[in-house]
C-alpha cells in the first residue's frame, strides 16, 4: 500500500509552557477531504503552522512517505505541501494572475535568467488553474478589488499552483455567505478528485459534514475523536467540547 500523502506522528507544539498541540497523529490520502474541527483555541491553526513549518514542532511530518519536518516552509511547499491562510494574505501589489504565477517555487537566479532572456518557465499553466476556479475574468485585477469569497478562492488557486499534492485550508469559508460556501465546497471536492489530499479546517459544520470523508476533532491541543462526520458529531466527547459539560446528560 502507498503511504498516505500527508501523515503526522506525535506532532507536538509548545508555546512557552503551554502545549498548543499534543501528540497529533493524522493522515490524509489521495482523493480524500479530511476535516479538522474543534472549538476556538483548540490548536487548529497551530497544527497547520506546525505542519507547514511556520512554527517549531516536535514529531514527524511526511508527504507521500518523505519526511519534511526538518525543512523550511518554502521547501515544504516545493515538496508539495501547500496551505492557505485565515486572513487570506494575498499579495496586494500583484494581480490575481501574478498571485498564482509567483507560486510554485523557483529560485531567484533562475527567475533572473528567465527574465533576462525572456523565457517563460515551461509547465507553468497559470491560466488553466485560473480557468478551473472561474478566475479568468478577474485575472488582471488586484485581489483587494474582489469580494471576500473570490479572494478566498484566489488563495486556494495560489496554493494549488505548481506541483501541490497536499493542501491545508485554514478556515477558508469563514466570512462567506451560504451560496458562496456551497460553491466553495464543490471546488474543494473537485481539487480532491484530481488525486490530491485536502485538509479542511472550518467552523461551518454544514460544509464539513457535506464534503469531508473523515473528520478529526481537536480540543486543548489533542485529538479527542476521529471518524466519519456522522460518527464524530454523535460522539459525546465532541458534544462536551463544543457545548460545555453541563448540557450533556
Amino acid at each position: 500500500m502507498n503511504p498516505p500523502l500527508l501523515a503526522t506522528e506525535g506532532l507536538t507544539v509548545h508555546y512557552g509552557g503551554v502545549r498548543a498541540n499534543t501528540d497529533i497523529d493524522l493522515h490524509a490520502g489521495a482523493g480524500e477531504v479530511v476535516g479538522l474541527i474543534g472549538p476556538n483555541g483548540a490548536g487548529k491553526t497551530t497544527f497547520v503552522d506546525a505542519v507547514t513549518g511556520f512554527t517549531p514542532s516536535h514529531g514527524t511530518v511526511s508527504v507521500a512517505g518523505r519526511r519534511v519536518d526538518r525543512l523550511a516552509p518554502h521547501q515544504r511547499r516545493r515538496a508539495g505541501l501547500a496551505r492557505t491562510w485565515q486572513a487570506g494574505e494575498l499579495f496586494t501589489d500583484l494581480t490575481v494572475r501574478q498571485n498564482v504565477a509567483v507560486a510554485g517555487g523557483r529560485g531567484p537566479l533562475r527567475n533572473l535568467c528567465n527574465d533576462l532572456i525572456g523565457r517563460a518557465e515551461p509547465g507553468d499553466d497559470v491560466d488553466a488553474v485560473l480557468e478551473t476556479f472561474g478566475l479568468l475574468p478577474v485575472a488582471d485585477r488586484r485581489p483587494g478589488k474582489l469580494s471576500l469569497g473570490r479572494q478566498k478562492i484566489v488563495g486556494v488557486a495560489r496554493a494549488l499552483a505548481g506541483a501541490t499534492r497536499v493542501i491545508l485550508l485554514d478556515e477558508p469559508a469563514a466570512g462567506l455567505d451560504t451560496d458562496e460556501s456551497a460553491e466553495f465546497g464543490t471546488h474543494v471536492r473537485a481539487v480532491a478528485e484530481t488525486g490530491r489530499a485536502v485538509l479542511l479546517i472550518d467552523h461551518d459544520m454544514t460544509l464539513v459534514a457535506a464534503i469531508c470523508d473523515r473528520v478529526y476533532v481537536l480540543d486543548y491541543g489533542a485529538v479527542i475523536a476521529s471518524g466519519t462526520p456522522g460518527e464524530v458529531l454523535a460522539d459525546p466527547a465532541v458534544r462536551t467540547a463544543y457545548l460545555g459539560s453541563e448540557l450533556v446528560p
Binding site: A72, E89, F91, P108, N114
Partner: protein
C-alpha cells in the same frame, strides 16, 4: 591596569551622549512609534547654539538670530538657552513633520527622520561661523587621583547626568499618569483618546523632554568631545545601536548599553596604540563597533519570518511599471544625446553625473521600492565599486569593461554581506543596520589611511580597442566619448532592470515586500530573494560607483561619504522610489547633477543644496509619499486608460 581605568573614564563623555540619545530614542519610540535618526542632529544644534552664545552672545535660530548683550554670555545661562532652543526645535519637528506622519508607513517615517537629520546638520555650517569657535569648559576642571590614575571629575559628572536623565525618563513613562497614557497612546490612539488625554499633546511633551535631555548632556560633554560641524549627527548611530540592544523597550538598558559602547570605543583606542596591533585596524574600528553590535543583537533577537500576529506587512506606495519601455527608452536616448550634444564643460559634467546617479537611484528602486528593504547603504556599494576600480586600473592593469565588471562584482559581494542581517531584521531597524554598515565601511575602508594612498585613489581612464574613452581630453572636461559610454552602460542596465521587474523577479520581490510569511507559503525562498535583491542593487550601485570614478579620475572618501548616500536616498524617495521613472527624476536632482549645476552656476546656491534636498525629502514624505513620478502619473492615469503588460 591604571591605564585601562583611565581610558574607561575617558569613555564616559562619549558614552553619556550615546546613552542619553539611546534613552531618548527608546522613549520617543514608546511614545510615537518613530525611530528618530535626527536625535544626534538635535544634539549638534544645541552644542553650536551654546558655542555661539559664549562666543558672541548671539542666539542663532534656524532662521534669523537674536543678539543678547554685547559680549560673550556666561556658561550656565548659555547652556540653559541651548537646552531650551533644542527643546523648541524638537517640538517643531513633532508638529511639522512627525505628527502628520503618525499613520504613515515606516518608510515614510524613516525618510522623514533621515531628512530632518540631514536638514539640521546641513543648516549648522550655514548658520554658524564654524571657524575658530571653541567649546570652553562648563563643568569643573578638577581632577582626582584614584587607583594610581588621574580622573577628570567632569567625566564622572557626565556619567551621573546620563544615568539620572535616563532614570528620570524611565520613571516618567512608568510611574506618572501622563507617562502611562503616553505609552498607551502609541499602542492604541483611539482608546487613549477615550481616557481624555490627547496622545498628540503627550507625544509633544515627550519630544520636548527628550530634546532637552539630549541637548543637556551633549552641551555638558562638548568641551570634552570638542566642537565639530558634523560629528554629533553620527552619534545617533551608537545611540540607535544601544536602543536596539534594549529591544526599544527598556530605557535603562539602552542607557547602560550606550555607556558601554562609549567605554568600549575608548578601550579600543587604547589597544590600537599597542605594538603589534595591525596598522589597517587602527582607524575606523570605533565606528565599526556599533555596526557589529547592532548586527549581532538584531540577528540574535530577530526571526527569519515574522511571527503570527507580528506586524509583518509593511505598507508601501503602489508600484507601476513602464507600460511602453521601448518607445520610452528611445525618447530618453534621444534626450540624453541632445543634452550631451548641446552642453559642454561643467554643464555636460552635470548631465553625465545625473545619468550615473539615476543608475544608483535605480538600485534603490530595486531594493527599497520593489523588495521593501529600507537600505541606507547604497553609496557604500557604489564606493566599493569605485575604490576597487582604482586598484583594478592602477595596480592590477585590468582593461576597461572587465574592470567595471570586477569592481561591481566585489560591490555585489559586499551587498550580500550587508544584506545578511536583512534576513532577520525588518523595516526601520534594517535602515539602522544598513546606515551603521555604511559608516563602518566608510571609516574602516575608504577613510583608512592604511588602505587609501595619501594622494587619493587615482583611476586610469577607460579605453576600448585602442579607442580613448577617458573623461578628459586636454581642456575638454567631459568628452563626448565618455558621455556616450555612460549612456550606453546605464541604458543597457536600465532596460535589463525593467525586464527583471516586469518578470518573475519583480513578482517575487513584490510578493516578499507585501507579505513574507505568505511568500514562504507559496514556495518563495524569502532569504535568497532578499539576498538576490541586495546583490542586484549593489551591482547596479557598484557600476554607478565605477562610472563616478571614471568621471572624476580620482576618488576620495568625500566622493562616497554617507551624507552623499543619504542625499541620494532622499532624491530617490522624492523622485518616487517605487518607479523606474522616479530613478530618472532622482538622477536629475541628485548631488552634482543637473539641478545642482543649475543652483551652483546660475543661482550661486550650491551651499544650500543639501539643505534644499533634505527639506524636499521631508516635504515629500509628509505631503506626497509616492514621490514626484507617482504624483504626476496619477494625473496621467485619469486621462488614459491603463494598459496591462504581461
Amino acid at each position: 591596569m591604571d591605564q585601562v581605568l583611565l581610558f574607561i573614564t575617558l569613555g564616559f563623555a562619549g558614552g553619556a551622549v550615546y546613552a542619553v540619545i539611546a534613552a531618548s530614542i527608546v522613549s520617543l519610540h514608546a511614545a510615537t512609534g518613530v525611530l528618530n535618526f535626527a536625535q544626534g542632529s538635535l544634539a549638534l544644534w544645541g552644542v553650536w547654539v551654546v558655542a555661539e552664545l559664549r562666543h558672541s552672545g548671539t542666539l542663532v535660530l534656524p532662521v534669523g538670530s537674536i543678539p543678547l548683550g554685547s559680549g560673550p554670555m556666561a556658561a550656565w545661562p548659555a547652556a540653559g538657552l541651548g537646552v531650551l532652543s533644542v527643546a523648541a526645535l524638537a517640538l517643531a519637528a513633532h508638529l511639522l513633520v512627525f505628527r502628520p506622519l503618525r499613520t504613515a508607513p515606516p518608510l515614510a517615517q524613516v525618510v522623514a527622520s533621515v531628512g530632518l537629520m540631514l536638514a539640521i546638520a546641513s543648516l549648522v555650517p550655514l548658520r554658524f561661523s564654524t571657524e575658530g569657535v571653541l567649546a570652553p569648559p562648563i563643568l569643573t576642571e578638577r581632577t582626582l587621583e584614584a587607583a594610581g590614575t588621574v580622573i577628570n571629575v567632569s567625566d564622572l559628572i557626565l556619567l551621573a547626568t546620563a544615568l539620572t536623565v535616563a532614570a528620570a525618563l524611565s520613571a516618567y513613562l512608568r510611574f506618572t499618569r501622563w507617562g502611562v497614557a503616553t505609552r498607551a497612546g502609541a499602542e492604541d490612539e483611539l482608546a487613549a483618546r477615550l481616557t481624555g488625554l490627547s496622545p498628540d499633546r503627550l507625544a509633544a511633551v515627550m519630544w520636548l523632554l527628550t530634546g532637552a535631555a539630549t541637548a543637556l548632556v551633549a552641551i555638558l560633554a562638548a568641551p570634552t568631545l570638542g566642537l565639530d560641524p558634523i560629528g554629533y549627527m553620527f552619534y545617533v548611530l551608537p545611540g540607535l545601536a544601544a536602543a536596539l540592544l534594549a529591544r526599544l523597550t527598556s530605557i535603562m538598558v539602552a542607557c547602560l548599553a550606550g555607556l558601554a559602547i562609549g567605554v568600549l570605543q575608548s578601550i579600543l583606542l587604547l589597544l590600537s596604540t599597542f605594538d603589534g596591533w595591525p596598522v589597517w585596524a587602527q582607524a575606523g574600528l570605533g565606528d565599526a563597533v556599533p555596526f557589529v553590535i547592532v548586527v549581532v543583537a538584531l540577528v540574535i533577537l530577530g526571526r527569519r519570518l515574522p511571527a503570527r500576529g507580528a506586524l509583518g506587512t509593511v505598507r508601501m506606495p503602489a508600484v507601476a511599471l513602464p507600460t511602453r519601455p521601448w518607445p520610452t527608452a528611445g525618447v530618453l536616448l534621444a534626450a540624453a544625446a541632445l543634452a550631451i550634444g548641446l552642453t559642454s564643460g561643467s554643464w555636460r559634467f552635470g548631465v553625465v553625473t545625473s545619468i550615473i546617479m539615476a543608475l544608483i537611484a535605480l538600485s534603490l528602486v530595486v531594493l527599497t521600492g520593489y523588495l521593501g528593504q529600507i537600505s541606507l547603504a547604497s553609496m557604500a556599494f557604489a564606493g566599493t565599486g569605485g575604490f576597487i576600480l582604482s586598484r583594478a586600473t592602477m595596480a592590477w592593469n585590468v582593461p576597461f569593461p572587465l574592470s567595471v565588471l570586477l569592481s561591481a562584482g566585489v560591490a555585489t559581494l559586499v551587498g550580500v554581506l550587508v544584506g545578511l542581517p536583512a534576513l532577520r531584521v525588518r523595516g526601520a531597524q534594517l535602515a539602522v543596520v544598513t546606515l551603521a554598515g555604511a559608516v563602518a565601511v566608510q571609516q574602516a575602508a575608504f577613510a583608512n589611511p592604511a588602505l587609501t594612498p595619501f594622494e587619493g585613489n587615482l583611476i586610469d581612464g577607460p579605453t576600448l580597442f585602442g579607442w580613448d574613452l577617458a573623461v578628459r581630453d586636454g581642456t575638454d572636461l567631459t568628452t563626448s566619448a565618455f558621455a556616450a559610454t555612460v549612456v550606453v552602460i546605464v541604458g543597457v542596465l536600465a532596460m535589463a532592470v525593467v525586464r527583471l521587474l516586469a518578470g518573475f523577479t519583480g513578482q517575487s520581490f513584490l510578493a516578499v515586500r507585501s507579505n513574507e510569511r505568505a511568500a514562504a507559503s507559496v514556495g518563495i525562498d524569502v532569504a535568497r530573494v532578499k539576498l538576490a535583491g541586495f546583490a542586484l542593487s549593489a551591482f547596479l550601485a557598484g557600476v554607478g560607483g565605477c562610472l563616478i570614478g571614471y568621471s572624476r579620475s580620482q576618488l576620495s572618501v568625500e566622493s562616497f561619504n554617507v551624507i552623499v548616500g543619504l542625499s541620494v536616498l532622499c532624491m530617490a524617495y522624492v523622485g518616487g522610489i517605487t518607479r523606474v521613472s522616479g530613478a530618472l527624476i532622482a538622477g536629475l536632482i541628485a548631488p552634482l547633477g543637473v539641478l545642482y549645476t543649475l543652483l551652483n552656476t546660475t543661482l550661486g546656491l550650491g551651499h544650500y543644496y543639501t539643505l534644499i534636498a533634505a527639506c524636499a525629502l521631508v516635504l515629500t514624505a509628509v505631503l506626497n509619499p509616492v514621490g514626484i513620478a507617482g504624483g504626476t502619473s496619477g494625473l496621467l492615469h485619469r486621462r488614459t486608460p491603463r494598459k496591462v503588460v504581461l
